[in-house]
């Protein structure tokens, strides 16, 4: 083989979604040389699909909003399993991160006063989501992509080379994080186009690889969501926190089959859409959990008044946090009150005039018109739960986004864990990407100033290369597509929206079998742009992630947020005190429980005591109150 392609940078950012791009901007502005690596073309990352908006308590629509309210909503949404410090930083910094995008050229929808408009979303007390119609993710990614181009233009002027400080390596997959002396030294991967291998030497690596949706059969995620970053971190010695928490978005398309899982944005409900069953009943009123009774309307008249007057009415139950709505839909379908294709009905046609629907929800209108022959201004949509987001992820230090246990490794965005606890609120991901993307870039910059270079050894390179080439050298193996389909089916059936101990045990056995089959999965054909080979590599990551999910889910004997156990249907304050930590022992995944850091007094005091009593044990409450 020809000479190995080598690059040397200060920071390598893996991922060009919102988190990766924001990290890259920060690192470059700190004067570092940055490589941005992504599996797709630049500007195509999964963030592009985000629709509803980015949550930030700017208070443009309701001036009562502020970071404390946002913090409270986030903790409630996550059922208090969130890392409080992440939720605090997030709520405090999100407005600045959104305003900053405007100075880079973003054009959000406006209020009458000319400020950034904000819309309602599930779990947010006030209208809080800055948005551009229903294509907010596109605006976010394009703005940052263009910011990076702007920085490159500046570098061209100052250094005569546009790529002197930021270079994008698109359509390149990283397969390994390299370490020397216990610290990060670089990353190894291959060009998707040619299959040729590439070495990046860098003392700091930021993982911003997004989610894991492709381990499930019905998902809103694109092919990129194969949990690569989760697996890379595990193999590098990092930990994953709370992997049992997977968000099933309540409203994915259910028909036709080829688009099953595709997202129907929550804005449909935020803007007035209602959920009904086959009997025409607005069933969400039957599913308001005790902890939310004082915040959600228990009758249609009040719920409908809320759209016009939010001060004197409680919110419609369609806007409960996602886990609640997804479970409710699941129950209606199971009870035989579903729609013809196994979902329920979501209707805006009777609620808003056709032109308003087209103006407020343009991409939804197109999506249904073009992919399902349904005109949503005339007919109800059929929707059902779809795997959407993973709350679990790499355990990080909140302030620096440094991965716990791996010096030089940083993580931000969906791949990082802790911020959202057991359930993420809509709009809180895009803001998370910005807040912690920036912090990861800054964290990496500070780390490098203190630590300096860390050369990669030839032995590491050889090892990484061998592992990468395995799919070509295997004999007589299986088609990776078949294994992938079985994995997706297993996740959907056994680790899905409602779980039982028995099924989770079955899943673990099944995953081990799949793993041994993957070790013989052979890639056919040559190295150039070979999707069979790519899938063989990705499968390994997906299996590892699935194992973390199944094992963590088996241990957690309660139901909370994105984890529902049929055999342990209640939420249990004892379980709120621990995170599930997954680690890789070289052969399989170990899961242990680790104590959650407790809420400091000043944040504790933001809540009513009566509310805290629903989540915290009496002992915890006394210890915080007494310990002040």
């Amino acid at each position: 083989m020809s000479e190995l392609e080598r690059h040397s940078y200060d920071v390598v950012v893996i991922g060009a979604g919102g988190a990766g791009l924001r990290a890259a901007v920060e690192a470059r502005e700190a004067g570092l040389r940055v490589a941005i690596i992504c599996k797709s073309l630049f500007g195509k990352a999964h963030t592009v699909m985000a629709e509803g908006g980015v949550a930030a308590s700017m208070g443009n629509v309701n001036s009562s909003d502020n970071w404390q309210v946002h913090f409270r909503d986030t903790m409630r949404g996550g059922k208090f399993l969130n890392h409080w410090r992440m939720a605090e930083l997030h709520a405090k910094e999100a407005p600045d991160r959104v305003w900053e995008l405007e100075t880079w050229g973003a054009l959000f929808d406006r209020t009458k006063e000319g400020k950034i408009s904000q819309r309602n979303f599930g779990g947010h007390e006030y209208p809080r989501l800055a948005h551009v119609g229903d294509r907010t993710g596109l605006e976010l990614i394009r703005t940052m992509q263009q910011k990076i181009v702007a920085l490159q233009q500046e570098d061209a002027r100052n250094h005569g080379d546009a790529e002197s400080h930021i270079k994008v390596f698109a359509e390149l997959t990283i397969t390994e994080i390299l370490k020397e002396g216990g610290k990060v030294s670089g990353a190894y991967g291959y060009w998707r186009e040619t299959g040729n291998e590439v070495l990046f030497e860098a003392p700091a690596v930021v993982l911003a690889t997004g989610g894991i949706g492709k381990t499930f059969k019905v998902t809103s995620n694109s092919w990129e969501g194969t949990g690569d970053g989760h697996a890379l971190a595990l193999k590098a010695g990092g930990h994953l926190v709370d992997m049992e928490f997977v968000q099933f978005h309540p409203t994915g398309m259910v028909w036709p089959p080829s688009v099953r899982g595709l997202l129907v944005t929550e804005s449909v409900r935020g803007d007035g859409g209602v959920l009904t069953n086959s009997e025409g009943k607005r069933f969400m009123f039957d599913y308001i959990p005790e902890v939310f009774k004082d915040k959600y309307a228990d009758n249609e008249a009040e719920a409908d008044r809320w759209y016009g007057d939010q001060t004197n009415n409680r919110r419609p139950p369609e806007l409960l946090p996602r886990d609640e709505v997804a479970r409710a839909i699941n129950s209606e379908v199971k009870a035989g009150r579903g729609s013809p294709h196994g979902g329920v009905f979501l209707d805006v046609s009777k609620r808003l005039p056709a032109d308003v629907i087209k103006k407020k929800l343009p991409s939804m209108w197109h999506q249904f018109k073009e992919l399902a022959d349904v005109d949503i201004t005339e007919t109800a949509m059929e929707v059902g739960p779809t795997c959407h987001y993973v709350m679990g992820g790499i355990e990080v230090e909140p302030d620096t986004a440094a991965a716990v246990g791996v010096p030089g490794l940083f993580a931000a965005g969906e791949v990082a864990g802790g911020m959202h606890g057991s359930n993420r609120l809509g709009g809180n991901s895009l803001s998370d990407l910005l807040v912690f993307g920036r912090r990861a870039g800054a964290g990496a910059a500070a780390y490098i100033k203190a630590s300096g270079k860390n050369p990669v050894s030839e032995a590491s390179v050889r090892g990484a290369s061998e592992r990468l080439n395995a799919p070509f050298t295997r004999v007589g193996g299986e088609n990776p597509y078949t294994i992938h389909q079985e994995l997706q089916q297993t996740s959907n059936d056994l680790v899905g929206i409602i779980r039982t101990g028995k099924e989770l045990e079955e899943a673990i056995v099944k995953l081990a079998q799949l793993r041994s089959r993957v070790s013989t999965a052979k890639a056919e054909g040559g190295r150039a742009f070979n999707p069979g080979f790519h899938l063989a590599i990705d499968l390994d990551n997906m299996l590892l992630v699935s194992e973390c999910i199944a094992r963590s889910a088996l241990q957690r004997e309660e139901s909370r947020g994105g984890h529902t156990r049929d055999d342990f249907p209640a939420m249990n304050p004892e379980w709120r005190q621990v995170n599930s930590i997954s680690a890789w022992n070289g052969k399989s995944v170990d899961v242990i429980q680790q104590k959650l850091p407790s809420l400091p007094k000043e944040l504790f005091d933001l809540f009513e005591l009566d509310e805290l009593k629903k989540y915290l044990t009496p002992a915890e409450i006394t210890s915080v109150k007494g310990g002040a």
Binding site: L138, R142, V149, S258, E370, N530
Partner: protein, 256 residues
């Protein structure tokens, strides 16, 4: 209702930069599927190394651009039921860009052009959070920011489709709307965007055939809302100083 299966005929271009040919395949198709679904089934069952780009499968990312029966389209938004029963569907890579392999082309031309357009230049006297803009004033630019960079408009534009030599001096419709977007941004401070569009980015080579508008999956009115207004105003500014002055004076008097 069950997802009725039937067999469909596909003719797929396979090859690389050096050499290639159309190959015929027959594959199952189910109700409601799009061309990309069927290509994926070919990949999973018959040609595991068939190269095709895609990402969102929802018409949002602009990755799956190709030519279907000779027309530039997104494969994920092209329904199988738009073809005649028994019709052979021909899929080929974008013609305006060099082939890498099979249906994947080298679109780096577009990223180079993006680099040539001066970035947004915001006002220096406003801090973050102080921007005030009316919805009506941002809407024009917002239309152009819907662009998903599928580059179908670039592919179809005859100025570069069969004229490699024009690529150097022609940014293409995707980047005309980028310039228009910045030009119409209420707070952009850079002057002369229209003039440089004409003089440096090849706006003058466009003869308003409107082919770009026709293929745009986002239904952006590239010609009517971006190219023509820019051309008109370039003409104003270039050749009609009196009228230009007139508009300034009217503005000052608050009549405009």
């Amino acid at each position: 209702m069950s997802a009725a299966e039937k067999m469909v005929k596909l003719r797929i271009w396979r090859g690389d930069a050096k050499d290639g040919a159309l190959q015929d395949v027959e594959v199952e198709a189910n109700e409601g599927e799009v061309v990309l679904d069927v290509i994926h089934r070919v990949q999973a069952t018959q040609m595991s190394d068939l190269a095709v780009r895609w990402n969102c499968k929802a018409g949002k990312c602009g990755s799956c651009s190709m030519e279907i029966n000779g027309k530039p389209r997104l494969a994920c938004m092209t329904r199988m039921n738009m073809f005649e029963e028994g019709e052979t569907i021909t899929v080929t890579p974008l013609r305006a860009f060099p082939v890498i392999r099979d249906l994947v082309t080298d679109v780096s031309f577009n990223y180079k052009k993006a680099m040539e357009i001066p970035a947004f230049a915001g006002p220096t006297d406003l801090k973050p959070g102080e921007y005030r803009m009316q919805q009506v004033d941002v809407e024009r630019s917002q239309e152009f920011r819907k662009c998903i960079e599928c580059f179908l408009c670039q592919d179809t534009c005859h100025v570069i489709r069969d004229h490699e030599e024009n690529k150097k001096s022609f940014a293409g419709p995707r980047f005309f709307i980028r310039i228009a977007e910045l030009d119409m941004h209420p707070l952009d401070t850079l002057r002369n965007r229209k003039k440089t569009a004409q003089e440096e980015h090849g706006l003058g080579m466009c003869n308003i055939t409107k082919c770009c508008t026709e293929v745009c999956p986002e239904h952006i009115r590239i010609t009517d809302n971006a190219i023509i207004p820019m051309k008109e105003r370039v003409v104003d500014e270039k050749y009609d100083p009196i009228r230009w002055l007139g508009s300034k004076i009217r503005k000052r008097e608050g009549i405009n």
